[in-house]
Amino acid sequence: MTTLAFAILLVASLAAYALNRRAATGIRNGGARLHSVSNYHGLFALLLMLVPVLVVILAWLVLQGSVVNAVVMGALPDGTLTELEKGQVDLILAEIQSISGGRIFGQPEPWKLAAAERLTELRQLAALGLVLVTALLCLAIMIFARKKVSAEFRARQGVERIVSGLMIFCSVVAIFTTVGIVASLAFETYKFLRLVPLSEFLFGLNWEPQIPIRADQIAAAGAFGWIPVIVGTIVITIVAIVIAVPIGLLSAIYLFEFAPKRVRAVAKPLLEILAGVPTVVYGFFAILVVAPAIRIFGASLGIPVAPNTALAAGGVMSIMLVPFISSFADDALSAVPRAMRDGALALGATRAETVLNVLFPAAIPGIVGGVLLAVSRAIGETMIVVMAAGLMANLTLNPLESVTTVTVQIVTLLIGDTSFDNPKTLAAFALGMMLFLVTLIINIFALRIVRKYREAYD
């Protein structure tokens, strides 16, 4: 039925285009001078129909499910839903939906069968309604648009106004996305903070989010102090940055100053490949190769090494960051004016001295900005740590031990059950909020440094 609605819209808008175009051509052939060429008359009708009706159909589809569900649940016999928690209500709804879909398990109560029947009916009604509304709207708009056709009608301006509006809408989607991120995180974090006090979350030294789901279940009471989680994140980030920065900078300096042109032409795209490898691949590489290698190496030295060390996760992450840092450093070095380089060389400095003492200091702000962006990437990186780092929150600074990170906790807390009313799932959103804020601050700071520096030489 939904497809039918879209088909009606498509056919109707093409018909409206043809109708108005022909009408306009007719006027012109009658000897009148049109303000806009007839093509614009057709386009005007097309857009006038396509845009609003599409909005109506999409809104209908988004709202239909929840409205139908609410009506069905509201029409259940009195008292069936009182004293039930939200999870159980959802379960009943899911059961009714599966009965309506023809998947009946066991012997459901008669009221559930009745509700399922009502659900099926309502869905059919809604689908029929959608088609009817689409058809009527199309017809109305077609008549309205046809009446607009006249020699004086400024169809081109009309079309351009609609297109302009569409483009502004496209640009505003970016704002919507940011607002959506902030709103969803803030809303769930607020719910979390009603269950767990802010001071405990920010300053608590224990992170044990496993809370009992049923009253009689034996589990930890649940502790939500994020200090061990953020410390683990920092440890892994430091490992990654400490390895990636020297390698990235040295290879950038080599490629920028010393490498022959042909080496550069091959080496740069090869480095880009490292940046383009999906992080899930790096994660698998960490558990397949790097972690066992570190364990064997540690054992040969007599050092006990945990199976999922911060060193393995951070080390693999550094491979991902090397091309990132190297390309930022390369950009920063190239942005230093040629005069400074030529001046240093003319005074008799060697190329190494020129790079280290003249170009590098001048490029420092750009490089620092790039490294900061790399730090923000390392903090937000998810798949490598989910696969290679630990799950238990360990308050330690030793990179040979297993630590967990903010992103690992977000993913593990949200895989599986996601009811939005227990502190375990909500904690993931609180962590997400902190992650968003930390990376946002670092990004703004880094972008500012990079931009300020670029302006200095322009």
């Binding site: 496209c170 969803s184 899930v280 691949v281 998810t382 989910v386």
Partner: protein, 430 residues
């Protein structure tokens, strides 16, 4: 004054400079050597990464199969009871005929014999019989996959030297294998199931079809949403937007969105799309919408760069002959910028194809044994399938994971190659 030996100062300075030259050149040499070491380290890592993936992954491209003469016993399989029937017993009996050391009446031994075959073998036989009822009572030749431990043994991944108690196959089972090899029943063939099967609990049956279809639907959704939105936003910001606080705010927003960690987009999708709008979990459609939000900034940035590269003379010429601003943009600037826009879009989609974390949060890591027929069915995607297999304890999944990664990398390389081709073919230098 003129008799002061003016050269002496200069000479001593020159000597100093000459004397220090070798030290300075050594320093330069060291810096150069360090640079070469650094970049070699990076390439070494790339090499190890690819080598380890290929060396573990290539084994999953072949599948060990066993060819059997199966007598379809009417006592075990009758036409009336189809599709039920003791297909596994029939297969075990066929195998036992090849293994003289086994007593067909010893149930425990027969279970071990049945374990040589993949769990999917009985369904393969069932489908053959259901399709052609006349096969009942006849003997047919059937080629079926062996189960994971035997597959590993055949590929040399299972060490016979390991003590028996630690091995996944005991001595008797290995002797079965040796006997079957001797009579030539076990062969290796190209593993087409890797691309034509959906996921399975049994490594020898697991394939990527579901994941590839899931990724396809997700990418299609992502493209249909992010391409028009991204281009619309980029054209507006680059060509029409007045320089005011709103457009500055949008710019800052887009730059920041490009750097937001991907897992945060997953949280957004979970809370808004699934929590508030009640969209289905695990659906590629929802995954595609999430990826679209992440891809949009990439497309916007690439499109703006492409629009900027079109020379102003074209704009001015079009305006000069009386075109409106929109006619200039849509009739001249955008067509000329199209190769750049498409290149940026393909690179953005390639990034989206490798993205994992947001898809995990919206549940695209479910265990689903059929390929999705529409974008609204539950599915996995290629990267999440890799994550699931990497987490699976069965040894057979290690090589499957590497093979899946190789498939994913093939897709990524293809997309990037198309982008590079488009750029080199259509890029115009003004």
């Amino acid at each position: 004054m003129s008799n002061i030996p003016s050269g002496s100062v200069a000479r001593t300075k020159m000597d100093k400079v000459r004397g220090s030259l070798s030290r300075r050149h050594r320093k330069q040499f060291i810096l150069q050597a360090m640079g070469i070491t650094a970049i070699s380290l990076a390439f070494l890592m790339l090499f190890i990464l690819l080598a380890s993936l290929i060396s573990t992954g290539h084994k999953a491209f072949t599948q060990t199969e066993i060819t059997l003469e199966v007598f379809i016993d009417p006592e075990e399989i009758s036409a009336e009871r189809l599709p039920r029937g003791n297909f596994d017993d029939v297969l075990a009996a066929a195998l036992a005929a090849d293994l003289p050391s086994v007593d067909p009446n010893d149930r425990a031994a027969m279970r071990v014999v049945g374990g040589i075959l993949s769990n999917g073998a009985q369904f393969q036989l069932r489908d053959r019989v259901v399709a052609d009822l006349s096969l009942i009572g006849q003997t047919i030749a059937l080629s079926v996959p062996v189960s994971d431990p035997y597959d590993q043994l055949h590929k040399g991944l299972l060490d016979r030297e390991t003590p028996e108690s630690l091995r996944r196959l005991d001595d008797t089972q290995i002797s079965f294998y040796d006997r079957l090899i001797e009579i030539g029943a076990i062969t290796s063939s190209l593993n087409t199931g890797l691309l034509t099967n959906a996921d399975s609990r049994f490594p020898e049956l697991a394939g990527l079809k579901g994941a590839i279809m899931g990724s396809f639907w997700a990418l299609l959704t992502c493209f249909l949403i992010s391409f028009p939105l991204g281009i619309g936003a980029a054209i507006y910001l680059e060509e029409f937007a007045p320089r005011n606080r709103l457009s500055d705010f949008i710019e800052v927003n887009i730059n920041n969105l490009a750097a937001v960690p991907s897992v945060v987009f997953g949280l957004l999708a979970l809370a808004v799309f699934i929590g508030w709008f009640g969209m289905p979990r695990s659906a590629p459609f929802v995954g595609g919408m999430t990826l679209a939000l992440m891809t949009m900034p990439t497309i916007i940035i690439a499109t703006r760069a492409a629009l900027k590269a079109v020379p102003p003379s074209i704009r001015e010429a079009a305006l000069g002959v009386g075109a409106s601003r929109q006619q200039v943009v849509f009739g001249h600037i955008v067509p000329l910028a199209m190769p750049g826009i498409l290149t940026g879009t393909i690179i953005g989609l390639a990034q989206a194809l490798g993205e994992t974390a947001p898809l995990l949060l919206i549940g695209m890591n479910a265990f689903i044994t059929s390929a999705p027929a529409t974008p609204f069915d539950s599915a996995t995607a290629l990267p999440t399938q890799i994550f699931i297999w990497a987490d699976s304890p069965e040894r057979g999944f290690v090589s499957r994971t590497s093979a899946a990664i190789l498939v994913l990398l093939t897709f990524l390389i293809t997309m990037n190659a198309i982008a590079i081709y488009l750029r080199s073919k259509f890029e115009r230098k003004w």
